[in-house]
C-alpha cells in the first residue's frame, strides 16, 4: 500500500467535506467551504497518481472551481456515466453540473488565485425542494434517479432523466438525514439519520421496507455526516455511526431479513463514513499453488471522527489496514476508483489523502461479467443488461453486424434524449461563437463605438450587450429547469408595480429604519492592516503614496474597505426611485382603470391608510382585467361548439371488427333484463319496427331495416335496404328482421322465423336461408365470415366464400359453467375466429383447428396483475390497441402493470409470472390468428428473454423462427405463421438480442444462417 497526501489539493485550508473520483478515473471532485461561499473543485487525477506529472508544470492540477453554492458544500457525487456532477450544500440546494466546451480557460473574476479553470463546468440545473442543508446526494444505478437528503428530515428522489422533476419525497425520518446509499441492484435506497435509525426504502413504490433502530439507540447526533454504504454484491449494508456495548461501530445489516448481527469494531470515536470498494474480489492465485475455489469477498473502508481510517475485507476478521493520525480532524468522505485499487479520503482539516493498493493486498477483482453473474445468481437480474456502455468497455464485440446494431442503438438513444440536441456530437454543450471571422480583440477595440445604445421612454440609457457566445444549453433547455415562467415584458411591468406598491404602502417600516442608530463603518470593516497589506501586494500601484501617508491617512482606508462589501443605503434608495419611475411610466398608456391607479399613487404617497389604497388598486386592477377574460370565455364557447362534431365523424374511427357497430351492441344491452326462459340461456334482441346500422366506413355502407312494410297475400313483408357508396339496393324478406350485421363483404340478417339470410355487399343472396334451431342472440360479420350466437347457447361460424362451416353448433355450456355467468361480449375476428367474453371476466375463442374452446383472456388472472414487462415495451411502436386480444383484455393490462408496482413480489417470482403471462399472450394471439398482436407480443417476449437472460427459451424461439436450413420431405416446418414470414420475424428479433452482449454468439449464429438462407 502506498500513501500520499497531495498538499496541493486544498480549499485554502478550509474544510473539505466531500470527495468523489470520476468514473473514468482521470479527475476527482472535492466539495467544502470556500471563502464565504460553498466551493466545488475539480482536480486532475494524474498528478496524484504519478510523481512526474505532479512535477510537470504543464499538467494542470486544478481543473475547475465553482463558487456558485452560497454555503458550504456537503457532498459531491459524479453520475455513473460521468457526464454530470451533483453537489449539495448548506444553501439547501442541489446543483447538477455538466462540462461545457467553452472558448478557453477562464478565471473566476475577482478571485485571488490566478489559476485558470482548465475545464468549464456549468450548472445545468438547480434542484430546490429542501428546506434545510443538503447533507448527501446519491445517483441511482444507471443514473435513473438522483437522491438527496437533508436536515429537513426528508429524502428527495429526483428524476435524473428530466431535471428538475421530483419523483418522490420520502418522509419518515424524525431527525437530520445525513447519509444515503442505493442498493447496487436498484431495488432499495437506504438512509441514515440522527433519529437513531437507518431506513431502507423500496424503489418500486417508495415505501419504507425496514426501519433499523436497535444498533443506533445509544448514538448521539455528534457526527456531521453519516455516510453509509451498500456492498457491491448487494448483500450487506454497512451503516455509519452505530454503537455496540457503548463502543462506536459500523453496523453490518444483512439484506436477508435486515438482520444486524455483525459490526466493524475498533474505532475510538463515531464512524462518519463507510465506503465499499466497487469491485468484488477473489483470492489472488499464488504461482504454483493449486487453484482454490475461494469465495468472492468485498472490501470496505471505514473513516471515523477519531481521524483514523480502516480498510476491511469481508473475508478477514481483522482489518486489512488501520491508519491512525492521517489527518488532524475527522474524516469526512471516502471515494474508491472504479478499478478498486485507489482511494481518496478527505478530512475536515482541509486535506486529502490518496491510498494505492496492490492486487496482492486486496485480491483479484472480478470482472464485470463475473460480477454480473453473481448478481444474476442472487437476484436473477443482471445489472449490465441496460448499461451497454459499461459493458462495451469490457466485452469484445466479435461481429461487425453486432457493432452496427449497437452503434445505431446508441445513436437513437442519444437522439431521443433531447429533441434539441441534433446528434451525438452535440452531447457536450458548446459555446457557439457568433463572431463572424472577427477576432475578439478587434471587437473589443471598437466595442464602445459599435455597441447599440438606446434611450428608454424615461430617458435612461440602455445598452444592448454584444453577445460574444451563445450557450448551447444541450439537453437541459432553460425553460425546463426554470420553473417560473418567463413573463412577457408587459406582465413583468405589473410585477414591478405591485412590488413598488407594497414598498410604498409601508411608511412605518421606513421611518423605523430612519430611527435606527447609524453604525460606524469602522465596526464592520476589516482591520486596517489588511487594507495596507492588500495594497502592498500591488507593487507598482499606490504603494509609494501609501508609504508617504501618515496613520491618519490610513484611517479612511478602513472605511473604504467596508464599502466594497456593503450594499449602501444611498444606492439602494436610488434604485428604488428609478425603478418606480420606470415601472410607472409605461402604464400611462392604457386609459382605463390603470390611469386612475396612477393618479391615486401620485396623490398621496404619504397617506397612512395604505391598506385602503391597496384595496382600491386591487379593485382597479381586477376591473381592468375582467374584460379580456370575458372575451376569452366567449372564444372558448365558440371553440367548444366547433368541437361538437357531427355523428358521422364520431363513427369515423376505423375498426377492424364489426363489434362496435351499434346494432351489435344491442344484444348486450338487452342482456340486462333478467330471467331469460330456462330453455333459452341467452337473451335475444326484441323486434323493432325499423332500425338502421352502419356496416362499414370504407366503403361507407349503411343498412336500413323496415319491418312489415307491406302485406301481400296475408304475409307480412320486411324490407332490407342497403346503401353502399351512394348506391342503393333493397330486398324483401318474408319475416320480420330481428337483427342484422354486415362487413364490407357480406351482410347477414336473422329473422323472426329463425332464418338466417346472407347477402353479398351488392345485394346478391349468397346462401340459401339457413334454418337455426333457436332464435339468434347475436350476429356478427367480419370479412367473409358470419357468426351466429343463438339463444340456445350455441355458436356457429360459416365461411361464406368457401361455403363451409367453421364452427358447427358448438355449445357454450362448456364455458358458461357458473350459475351467473352470461355472455357479455361477442365478436368475430377478420380471420373468422369467434370470441366470447363472459361476465366473469374470462374470454374464450373457439379454435376450429383444435375444435375446442380456448381461454384467451382472464381479467382476474393473477399473472396479469403481477406481470411486469414495462422495460421490454418497444419505444417506437405504438402499443396494439385494436387487436382482438387487446379488445378482450381491455385496460386491464395497464392496471396489471400498476398493480405490479404496488405489490412487493420477490423478483424471481415476478420474473416467472411475467414470463408465463407473456407466453399466454403469445399463445392467445396465435389462436386468435391476430398477426399484428402476435408480432407485438413476440417482440416483447423476446426482449424480456434477452433482459432476463433466458438463453434456452431464446434459442428455442430463434430455432423455431429460423426453421430447418436444409429442406427435406420430412420437415413439417411452416415458413409462415399467421401470414407472417417467420424468418422476417427472426430478423426483427435479432436486433433485440443484440441489446445484451451476452447473447452475441447466439446473434452471430442466427445472423449467419439467415444470410446463408437469403443467398440461397
Amino acid at each position: 500500500m502506498k500513501l500520499l497526501k497531495p498538499s496541493w489539493v486544498s480549499h485554502n485550508g478550509k474544510p473539505i467535506f466531500s470527495v468523489d473520483i470520476h468514473p473514468d478515473g482521470t479527475k476527482f471532485a472535492t466539495g467544502g467551504q470556500g471563502e464565504d461561499s460553498g466551493k466545488v473543485m475539480i482536480w486532475n487525477m494524474a498528478p496524484v497518481l504519478r510523481e512526474e506529472d505532479e512535477k510537470n508544470e504543464n499538467i494542470p492540477k486544478m481543473l475547475c472551481q465553482m463558487d456558485n453554492h452560497l454555503a458550504c458544500v456537503n457532498c459531491v457525487r459524479w453520475s455513473n456515466n460521468g457526464l454530470y456532477l451533483a453537489s449539495g450544500g448548506d444553501d439547501k440546494l442541489v446543483m447538477v453540473w455538466k462540462r461545457a466546451a467553452f472558448i478557453g480557460p477562464s478565471t473566476v473574476f475577482g478571485s485571488s488565485s490566478k489559476l485558470a479553470n482548465v475545464e468549464q463546468w456549468r450548472c445545468v440545473t438547480i434542484l430546490r425542494n429542501h428546506t434545510g442543508d443538503v447533507m448527501d446526494v446519491a445517483w441511482s444505478p444507471h443514473d435513473v434517479w438522483l437522491a438527496s437528503c437533508s436536515v429537513d428530515n426528508t429524502i428527495v428522489i429526483w428524476n435524473a432523466r428530466k431535471f428538475p422533476e421530483m419523483v418522490m419525497c420520502l418522509r419518515g425520518h424524525t431527525g437530520l438525514v445525513k447519509g444515503l446509499t442505493w442498493d447496487p441492484v436498484g431495488k432499495y435506497i437506504a438512509s441514515q439519520a440522527d433519529d437513531h435509525s437507518l431506513r431502507v426504502w423500496r424503489t418500486v413504490d417508495w415505501q419504507m421496507e425496514a426501519n433499523i433502530t436497535k444498533p443506533f439507540s445509544e448514538c448521539g447526533g455528534t457526527t456531521h455526516v453519516l455516510r453509509l454504504s451498500w456492498s457491491p454484491d448487494g448483500q450487506y449494508l454497512v451503516s455509519a455511526h452505530a454503537m455496540n456495548n457503548s463502543g462506536p461501530t459500523a453496523q453490518i445489516v444483512e439484506r436477508d431479513g435486515w438482520k444486524t448481527n455483525m459490526d466493524f469494531v475498533g474505532h475510538r470515536k463515531a464512524v462518519t463514513v463507510v465506503k465499499f470498494n466497487p469491485k468484488i474480489f477473489k483470492k489472488k492465485q499464488k504461482n504454483g499453488s493449486a487453484p482454490k475455489p475461494g469465495c468472492p469477498y468485498c472490501c470496505c473502508a471505514v473513516g471515523s471522527k477519531d481521524r483514523s481510517l480502516s480498510v476491511w475485507l469481508t473475508s478477514l476478521k481483522r482489518p486489512l489496514v488501520v491508519i491512525h493520525d492521517l489527518f488532524d480532524k475527522s474524516i469526512m468522505d471516502i471515494s474508491w476508483t472504479l478499478t478498486g485499487l485507489g482511494m481518496l479520503v478527505c478530512s475536515m482539516d482541509g486535506t486529502v489523502a490518496y491510498l494505492d493498493f496492490s492486487l496482492d493486498e486486496l485480491g483479484d477483482p472480478l470482472n464485470e461479467e463475473e460480477k454480473n453473474s453473481i448478481h444474476q445468481n442472487i437476484y436473477g437480474k443482471s445489472l449490465a443488461i441496460t448499461s451497454t456502455e459499461a459493458q462495451l468497455s469490457t466485452t469484445i464485440i466479435e461481429n461487425p453486424e453486432m457493432l452496427k446494431y449497437q452503434q445505431e442503438r446508441q445513436n437513437t438513444a442519444q437522439a431521443n434524449f433531447g429533441p434539441s440536441s441534433a446528434g451525438p456530437e452535440s452531447s457536450t454543450p458548446k459555446l457557439n461563437s457568433v463572431m463572424n471571422g472577427e477576432s475578439l480583440e478587434d471587437i473589443r477595440k471598437n466595442l464602445l463605438k459599435k455597441q447599440v445604445e438606446t434611450r428608454t421612454a424615461d430617458g435612461r440609457r440602455r445598452i444592448t450587450p454584444l453577445c460574444i457566445a451563445q450557450l448551447d444549453t444541450g439537453d437541459f433547455s432553460p425553460a425546463l429547469f426554470n420553473s417560473a415562467p418567463i413573463l412577457p415584458s408587459g406582465s413583468s411591468m405589473s410585477n414591478q408595480l405591485t412590488s413598488q406598491l407594497s414598498s410604498d404602502s409601508s411608511p412605518g417600516q421606513a421611518s423605523s429604519l430612519g430611527l435606527r442608530p447609524s453604525h460606524d463603518p469602522m465596526l464592520t470593516s476589516p482591520p486596517a492592516n489588511s487594507a495596507v497589506k492588500g495594497l502592498e501586494d500591488n507593487k507598482d500601484g499606490v504603494k509609494s503614496s501609501l508609504l508617504l501617508t501618515s496613520a491618519s491617512k490610513i484611517e479612511p482606508m478602513k472605511a473604504l474597505d467596508s464599502r466594497f462589501t456593503e450594499r449602501s443605503k444611498a444606492t439602494q434608495g436610488v434604485t428604488a426611485v428609478i425603478s418606480s419611475i420606470s415601472g410607472l411610466t409605461p402604464l400611462d398608456r392604457p386609459k382605463d382603470g390603470l390611469s386612475a391607479l396612477i393618479d391615486l399613487m401620485n396623490k398621496d404617497d404619504t397617506s397612512s391608510d395604505s391598506e385602503d389604497k391597496m384595496a382600491n388598486i386591487n379593485k382597479n386592477l381586477s376591473f381592468s382585467k375582467r374584460k379580456p377574460e370575458l372575451l376569452l370565455d366567449g372564444a372558448e364557447v365558440v371553440e367548444k361548439r366547433k368541437k361538437g362534431r357531427p355523428r358521422k365523424d364520431k363513427m369515423a374511427a376505423p375498426s377492424t371488427f364489426t363489434q362496435i357497430t351499434p346494432a351489435e351492441r344491442e344484444p348486450s344491452r338487452v342482456a340486462a333484463p333478467p330471467a331469460p326462459p330456462a330453455a333459452l340461456k341467452l337473451p335475444t334482441p326484441s323486434i323493432k319496427k325499423a332500425f338502421s346500422l352502419q356496416v362499414s366506413m370504407e366503403p361507407s355502407m349503411f343498412l336500413e331495416v323496415e319491418n312489415e312494410v307491406s302485406v301481400v297475400a296475408g304475409s307480412k313483408l320486411s324490407q332490407l335496404r342497403c346503401s353502399r357508396d351512394g348506391r342503393d339496393w333493397n330486398t324483401l324478406l318474408p319475416s320480420s328482421v330481428v337483427t342484422a350485421a354486415g362487413s364490407s363483404d357480406v351482410l347477414a340478417v336473422a329473422c323472426q322465423d329463425r332464418m338466417l339470410s346472407v347477402f353479398s355487399s351488392c345485394g346478391r343472396r349468397l346462401l340459401p336461408a339457413i334454418q337455426l334451431a333457436t332464435p339468434v342472440s347475436a350476429l356478427h360479420c367480419s370479412a367473409h365470415f358470419v357468426m351466429a350466437l343463438t339463444a340456445g347457447a350455441t355458436l356457429s361460424v360459416w365461411d361464406v366464400q368457401k361455403q363451409k362451416a367453421l364452427v358447427k353448433n358448438e355449445s357454450l355450456l362448456t364455458i358458461l359453467s357458473g350459475a351467473d355467468t352470461t355472455v357479455s361480449q361477442s365478436l368475430l375476428t377478420q380471420q373468422g375466429v369467434p370470441v366470447i367474453g363472459l361476465s366473469n371476466g374470462k374470454s374464450y375463442c373457439f379454435s376450429s383447428s383444435l375444435e375446442t374452446w380456448t381461454l384467451i383472456a382472464d381479467k382476474g388472472d393473477s399473472l396479469v396483475q403481477c406481470a411486469d414487462f414495462r422495460s421490454c415495451l418497444p419505444t417506437h411502436d405504438a402499443p396494439v390497441s385494436s387487436g382482438p386480444l387487446a379488445v378482450m383484455q381491455g385496460r386491464n393490462l395497464n392496471a396489471g402493470r400498476l398493480a405490479s408496482r404496488l405489490s412487493s413480489t420477490p423478483h424471481h417470482l415476478q420474473q416467472s409470472m411475467t414470463l408465463a403471462f407473456l407466453e399466454n399472450q403469445l399463445a392467445s394471439a396465435l389462436t386468435l390468428q391476430s398477426a399484428q398482436e402476435y408480432r407485438y407480443w413476440l417482440l416483447i417476449y423476446a426482449r424480456f428473454l434477452v433482459n432476463e437472460g433466458s438463453e434456452y427459451r431464446l434459442r428455442e424461439l430463434c430455432k423455431e423462427l429460423l426453421g430447418p436450413v436444409h429442406k427435406s420431405a420430412a420437415t413439417a416446418w411452416e415458413p409462415t405463421t399467421l401470414g407472417l414470414r417467420k424468418r422476417e420475424l427472426l430478423r426483427e428479433v435479432l436486433p433485440v438480442i443484440v441489446e445484451n452482449l451476452r447473447f452475441q454468439r447466439l446473434f452471430t449464429e442466427y445472423q449467419d444462417q439467415l444470410e446463408l438462407l437469403r443467398n440461397k
Partner: protein, 197 residues
C-alpha cells in the same frame, strides 16, 4: 445561484487625467434568458468618511440579455468635482461598479483609485484647493474586490422569503432630488461576500 456571472472587467483608459470619463469593459455570462434588464451603476466614493459624498456617475440598463456570454463598455463621466470634499480629492478612494436585477444588487465590484498629481512640484506641495486639471486618476485594475449577494432571481425583493436579503432601506419616498443619497451608512453585512484579499 446567480444567473449572471461577471467573468471579467477590463479597465480602459487607465491611468488617465482626472476629467476623463471612466470606461469599463464588462464581460458577463448569463445562464438563461433574462426577462428584464440588468441595471449597472458606477459609483464614485467622494470621501471615505461618509457615503454622503458618493456620486452615482451613471446608471445604464443593459438588455435584452439572452443566455450566453456578453460584453459591453460602460462609460461614465468623471465625478463632479464640486461634490468632492477638497481634503479628499487627492489620495486613495474607491470606485464601485454595481449591478442590480429587479432592484436587487447581486454583485459589487470595487477598485481602489489613486488620484495624484503628475507634477513632482505639485506632489510636494499640493495646493489647498485641488487642481483637478493636473490630477491623474489611477485605478488599481489588477486588484478588483468582488462581493456577490444572494438575490431572488425569480421575483422582486419584496417576495423573497429570507428577509435578510431584502434591503431594508429601499424607500421610494426618497425624492429624486436627494441623489446621491444622504442616508447614514448602515452596517449591513452581505450574506455572501467573496473577499479576495
Amino acid at each position: 445561484m446567480a444567473k449572471v456571472q461577471v467573468l471579467n472587467v477590463a479597465v480602459l483608459d487607465n491611468p488617465s487625467p482626472f476629467g476623463n470619463p471612466f470606461q469599463f469593459e464588462i464581460t458577463f455570462e448569463c445562464m438563461e434568458d433574462l426577462p428584464e434588464d440588468l441595471e449597472w451603476k458606477i459609483i464614485y466614493v467622494g470621501s471615505a468618511e461618509s457615503e454622503e459624498y458618493d456620486q452615482v456617475l451613471d446608471s445604464v440598463l443593459v438588455g435584452p440579455v439572452p443566455a450566453g456570454r456578453h460584453m459591453f463598455v460602460f462609460q461614465a463621466d468623471a465625478p463632479n468635482t464640486g461634490l468632492i470634499p477638497e481634503s479628499d480629492a487627492v489620495g486613495v478612494t474607491v470606485v464601485l461598479i454595481t449591478c442590480t436585477y429587479r432592484g436587487q444588487e447581486f454583485i459589487r465590484i470595487g477598485y481602489y483609485v489613486n488620484n495624484e498629481y503628475t507634477e513632482p512640484e505639485l506632489r510636494e506641495n499640493p495646493p489647498i484647493k485641488p487642481n483637478y486639471t493636473q490630477l491623474q486618476r489611477n485605478i488599481l485594475a489588477s486588484n478588483p474586490r468582488v462581493t456577490r449577494f444572494h438575490i431572488n432571481w425569480e421575483g422582486c425583493a419584496e417576495r423573497m422569503e429570507d428577509c435578510e436579503n431584502v434591503d431594508p432601506t429601499s424607500n421610494s419616498m426618497l425624492p429624486p432630488s436627494c441623489l446621491p443619497g444622504k442616508a447614514p451608512p448602515l452596517g449591513i453585512l452581505p450574506d455572501n461576500s467573496m473577499d479576495c484579499l
